[in-house]
Amino acid sequence: MALSVSDVERLGRLARIELSPDELEQLAPQLDVILEAVARVGEIDTSDVPATSHPQPLTNVFRDDVVAESLPVADALAMAPAAEEDRFRVPRILGESQ
């Protein structure tokens, strides 16, 4: 399969992780080795095996539609890197060109 540096860069973008050129160079071959190892899951025929997404077969776990206490606004915002007017302040959403 061989993951190229540009593949890793694209994945980094999708995962929102800035990766330096050094990191990219290092990661690509490492990921290759790991992917080769995990590709073993394809070695056996599982075509008639159902997938297990949850280890315990529970279903229908519901909550009553009852309002519970929310956090005080100050607690909600306490860890915000930036806040304004009781709202979380985030950098502009669109890039320069958009």
Binding site: L11, L14, A15, E18, P55, M79, P81, A82
Partner: protein, 502 residues
Amino acid sequence: MTEILHRTAAELGADIAAGRLTSEEVTRAHLDRIDAVDADIRAFLHVDREGALEQARSVDARIAAGERLGPLAGVPLALKDVMTQVGVPTTAGSKMLEGYHAPYNATVTQRLLDAGVVILGKTNMDEFAMGSSTENSGFGPTHNPWNLERTPGGSGGGSAAAVAAFEAPLAIGTDTGGSIRQPGAFTGTVGVKPTYGGVSRYGQIALASSLDQPGPVARTVLDTALLHEIIAGHDPLDSTSLDEPTPPVVDAARSGDVSGMRIGVVTELGGEGYAPGVEAAFGRTVDQLADLGAEIVEVSCPNFEYALAAYYLILPAECSSNLARFEAMRFGRRVGDDGTHSAEDVMKLSRGAGFGAEVKRRIIIGTYALSAGYYDAYYGSAQKIRTLIQRDFDAAFEKADVLVSPTTPTTAFGLGERTDDPLAMYKNDLCTIPSNLAGNASASFPVGLSEDDQMPVGFHVMAPARADDRLYRVGSALERANEEVWGGPLLSRAPELKGAAK
């Protein structure tokens, strides 16, 4: 003081309840021990001296007022820093969360507080619980009390080391692929991964939701069971938590009767790659169980050989999603917000700076495994392997009441020894991973030192889902038999820590 430190949690709880000791004395003794040795061990990321003493005094006051509290009221505990706790930092071992304070208590934290257990502080761990040596912590590694040059295992190395170094009689761990059991094996302590859903995950910073399970860590089997009972039970805040009574773990720990129990040795978990000293200790222990009246059978779990591959797809996939919330918009260390960067840039820069190498590796792998076109081949196949592993377990549990193996292929390895080889690191978890994939209960018990290096060896016991009590029966039987041979607990043979001499 040493007297206090070497008592079991059950004894301390009884002494405190009877007024022979105060929780404050006990808590102070442990805080002093932390002061004395933790510079060498580095088990704690945060010690909540004042909070712990305050809590201890409150327990003492309640007992003095004639209140009857639980068996561990007033006993100190070390909490893995992956659990939220109001009033102290919660970092999950990540720079990303340096200084982060959660506005709510995890269910486990709350149950401990309600039971009067005194929380001494938060323990070190691999960043977001990704690792098997605690070397991936954003705040430096923890050292193994048996040999400071070796790792205590991971991700819960801090919790296991704190207990092994007598800094706390109890600790909480979380186990996604072995993070309670492998450090237990490496440090000569007891670690139990309960049945998935047995203990609430609410407030545990999620690594891989379908694999994660909090559990107890202690030096004795009974202490582990008492702690297990406090933290287990249904939680409406965790939809995957089991709405049924906790198995009778304390009774089982007190019984220690394995006569007539069918013990299945898993063929696939041994042989090549397993250290001779580990295999020898394992074989000795199986013989011991036979001597104690258990019936030994051999079972085969042919699909276990795919467990590691499935695990290293499912975990990264789930963690790539679980860790998406760490992007410095609502909390966490924000980087590059200088007016020139967009939110997307700032997310990337913050995550690039805040996450360590292993976290990045796994997120990238998980992103890849889930992406369109690869899903079926990777994540989809891994989930099917999961079914096959469950079937292996089901078949094996037809023949045996519990399954056994070494906890780890080797004893504790040296710090720095495997950091450059992720795959070698991953192989630590060969024996522990199947239980996370299948969701059944498992534990590691100390069964002696390896002839190879005089480091502790862990004996791995796997029980069916909801039969956690069987683990404690086996563990307790072994503990009694071994302590008779050793003349005391294994940890009494651990080297004296230098720092403590002063």
